[in-house]
Amino acid sequence: MSQQGSLACVGLGMMLGAHLSPRSRSHIEQADVVFVLVSDPLVELWVQEMRPDMRSLQPFYCEGTSRLTSYNAMVEAMLVEVRAGHRVCGVFYGHPGVFALVPHKAIQRAHEEGLAAHMEPGISAEDCLYADLGIDPGKYGCQHYEASQLMFYQRRIDPSAYLVLWQVGMAGDRSLARFSTGPAYRRLLVELLGRDYPLDHPVVAYEAATLPITAPRMDELRLSGLVEADLRLQTTLVFPPARPMQRNDEMLDRLAELDRLTRTAA
């Protein structure tokens, strides 16, 4: 009798040895086939120590080829094994569902084909960012955008909230075939952000620590300095609010009236 295949996409967290949940570790240890995509070569070696037969998804990347092509190939590689009746584990750095197209698409496609698939959360770079920078996203609100998407579409930035920009190292890449862009592209990003922030507004270039022997990157820059800054694929930009929150007096008045009517009715 053939076994029904399944897919579990699990998150390793960001730091080697520090963030892996017991459930995710069990999936890694018990799966028939393990695929891995992580952000640090030592972390990949760590997974390889757990599963010497693991298959890295790195070879699917190819500079000059659309990342969408690579992502679809990664999804298909996992699903081939699921269709063959294997228990497959896709291991991704951080949280497998945060800024991660491949795990979402693999699970969606598995479900469309009637195959079992689910996701186990992990500790994401976003989670590490809140801890390392001492930010509570609830304090003023917090907007997250992929940097290129912010450039490609008409978005409304609220400068009274935190702003977090992801994948800034390749901001403005329309080809999906590069892993970095340069100062000319960032100049346009700075110009765009300059509509809502002063050019000397502080911004933190953040990179979560991936090894327990290293520290996170938390470099304070100025908005204008982003053009020439060392921004990599894994760099995230964090903008503190540029102005206080504005009270919505009209809504507060309406709420007060509602409170008054509620009290009167009671």
Binding site: L45, Q58, L176, P212
Partner: protein, 67 residues
């Protein structure tokens, strides 16, 4: 498991080592002097070279525009 990876895993899960305890733990490891030096220097790149990990690693798994 490689002694270096095992050590990283152990301090990742239990990081409360003072600098002197960290140095003592490294001194007690059954690894060569280059590995000990890299750990004392907190040099991940040097460890990666020693363990022959990948030179370059891509990690993007997101597309800003799927269309």
């Amino acid at each position: 498991m490689s002694n270096i990876i095992r050590f990283l895993e152990s301090i990742g899960s239990a990081p409360a080592l003072s600098p002197s305890q960290y140095a003592e733990a490294i001194a007690a490891l059954d690894i060569g002097p280059a590995g000990k030096r890299a750990l004392l220097d907190h040099d991940g790149a040097a460890l990666n070279r020693l363990l022959e990990g990948r030179d370059e690693l891509r990690c993007a798994v997101f597309a800003e525009d799927e269309d």
